[in-house]
């Protein structure tokens, strides 16, 4: 039987399959349709230092091969998170599932404050920074679209935290590899590649957007080729581990990301269509490796012939 365990810096996961932030709440939400103990890891919905209300509906729209969302990072805030959500995360850790908390903020200071507030919290293995949030001090331009701002917010979070900091890169940039290099130099322990691609869908007859915000983040199988390309580029340019994500819904998809350089993968939108996707991916990976006599799944990481 293949050893599915992987190492993301100092964090060891029993298998490379995780749930992506914003697609599985804080854990209990998906537990009716998925045995959470099967997961190698789990990334929570983004947490800010204070609660955020999120956007007005409609917040989602289905598009060919995917969906757009503009939830607006509605979240309970750090205090309620520690009080209400951490007990469940503790249970997941007991089941040997890696737990990462996705961190959001509107200023560098806010990211730092969340990181500081989570110090000493044993339920958590790592932080994952969502740097696609608008930087209100810079006119709302996302931290993740500027190398300097991305490095600054990474360094400030690393400085505030006692945990490894993973950084989730935005694909809405000209050169994602240089973003990866910038946050690696700022102290990131791993890179999550990729966040959603900005997109738009409209109602032709009403001539208005389908999302209240006008546009939103595209996810699902439609973005897989983009995500695969970026996973490959970032893993070539950086020396820290890459977590690959974007449109994964089968073991084959997940394995493709690993061959392109991802040490582990995250499953997101597919959870909505089938909450059991992650468990099916783990099973499919095992079968695939067994059939090929692969002893450790980590052997296949970055083995693309290109």
């Amino acid at each position: 039987m293949t050893d599915l365990s992987v190492r993301i810096g100092d964090v060891v996961a029993k298998n490379p399959v995780m749930l992506a932030s914003g697609t599985a709440g804080y854990g209990p939400e998906l537990s009716g349709g998925l045995d959470m103990s099967r997961l190698g890891g789990f990334v929570t919905k983004g947490i800010a230092v204070h609660p955020w209300e999120g956007n007005a509906p409609p917040r989602i729209a289905e598009t060919p091969g995917g969906m757009l969302n503009a939830i607006g990072l509605q979240n309970v805030g750090l205090e309620a998170f520690l009080e209400d959500k951490v007990p469940y995360l503790n249970r997941m850790r007991t089941a040997d599932t890696v737990v990462a908390v996705n961190v959001i903020g509107k200023t560098v200071q806010e990211y730092h404050d969340v990181a500081k507030g989570l110090r000493g919290c044993d339920a958590i293995d790592a932080l994952e920074l969502n740097i696609s949030c608008p930087n209100i001090k810079e006119g709302g331009i996302a931290f993740g679209t500027d190398c300097v701002a991305a490095a600054e917010v990474t360094a400030a979070t690393v400085e505030g935290s006692d945990k490894p900091v993973w950084v989730k890169l935005s694909p809405n940039v000209a050169d994602i590899a240089s973003m990866g290099v910038a946050v690696e130099e700022a102290g990131a322990a791993a890179l999550s590649v990729i966040n959603t691609l900005l997109g738009m869908a409209i109602d032709l007859e009403k001539r208005r957007p389908l999302l209240s915000l006008g546009w939103g983040g595209l996810s699902g199988p439609a973005i897989k080729p983009v995500a695969l390309r970026m996973t490959w580029q970032v893993s070539q340019a950086c020396s820290i581990p890459v977590l690959g994500m974007g449109g994964i819904r089968s073991a084959k998809d997940a394995l493709e990301f690993m061959v392109c350089g991802a040490t582990a993968v995250q499953i997101g939108t597919a959870n909505f269509a089938n909450p059991n996707t992650a468990a099916e991916v783990v099973d499919g990976m095992t079968t695939w490796c067994d059939e090929r006599g692969i002893e450790r799944i980590s052997e296949i990481v970055g083995t693309l012939n290109a």
Binding site: K45, A61, Q74, F272, P275
Partner: protein, 281 residues
């Protein structure tokens, strides 16, 4: 809340784009409350990803349950192609249920179009609980979509407690369901329940408010997952919108938008803002 495979027993075209879908599935039919819903996968998993669609459960009998749906878009159109014997991935039952009335209260059930099914479920639950003091006012636009009455037609074909209304007067009372309700009058302790288009829910809530009748509504919103993970299906908290500065400050901004799948789909009508900005219907 298991994810289960339900077998199609019947997929009946009721005309006017309205369909009745009956499934056999003991896992889901086991414990359903009136007002709960299921998330139905409209396409086989090997096709490009398509989000599931939420439908209120209309009736449960043994290990069989049924939903009513209207062919309005890509997902529901695919559902019309489901064949007897097909196995369909269904997640449920999800969400909360209506609060049962006090024994002295008359339960008034108001349903519009494909919002009628949860009223059928509630009438069934009331009967099962021995609460025979209920009246239903159900409305459609006319002959064209009278198929929406199927739940009441099959269960209570000739029952004075069920009043049918059509906007064009082709069947039963001419006018909307609130007019039909007021036409019979509100007497004694009453509790109202409603499901239908937002404009109808607003009219029901206004009428209930005017007559001091406690009222619960089941809302339809755009849902991604049905279990609280995607946070798409929100409806606005009235206390947050209408509250003064002090009231607002005492609340978490997180509670401005309530998840219809977890906190609902049934809400006290005065708790939420009954407005979808015209995005649905």
């Amino acid at each position: 809340m298991p994810d289960s495979r339900s077998t199609v027993l019947e997929n009946r075209d009721l005309g006017g784009g309205v369909w009745l879908l009956r499934f056999r599935d003991p896992t889901i039919a086991d414990d359903v409350g009136p007002g709960q819903f299921v998330m139905i996968a409209c396409s086989p998993p090997y096709e490009p990803l398509l989000l599931r669609r939420p439908f209120s459960i209309q009736r449960v009998e043994g290990d069989v349950y049924e939903v009513l749906y209207r062919d309005v878009g890509k997902g529901t159109h695919r559902m019309t192609k489901m064949q007897v014997g097909d196995e369909v991935q269904v997640l449920g039952p999800l969400g909360n249920s209506f609060t049962m009335p006090r024994p002295d209260e008359t339960a008034v059930l108001l349903g519009g179009g494909v919002g009628i099914p949860p009223m059928v479920a509630l009438a069934d639950a009331l009967e099962a609980a021995g609460h025979t003091r209920w009246a239903a006012y159900v409305g459609v636009s006319g002959i064209v979509d009278e198929g929406c009455f199927v739940g009441f037609d099959e269960r209570w074909p000739n029952d004075d407690r069920v009043r049918r209304a059509t906007m064009d007067g082709s069947i039963g009372f001419e006018g909307h369901v609130v007019a039909a309700w007021l036409d019979r009058g509100i007497t004694g302790p009453t509790r109202a329940y409603a499901c239908g288009p937002m404009v109808m829910l607003r009219a029901v809530a206004d009428t209930a408010g005017t007559h001091d009748v406690p009222c619960e509504v089941s809302v339809e919103t755009m849902m991604g997952c049905g279990v609280g993970a995607c946070m798409s299906c929100v409806i606005e908290n009235r206390a947050y919108r209408d509250g003064d500065e002090a009231a607002r400050k005492s609340m978490s901004p997180y509670d401005r938008w309530l998840l219809a799948c977890r906190k609902g789909p049934v809400f006290p009508s005065d708790r939420i803002v009954l407005d979808d900005g015209g995005f649905l219907h």
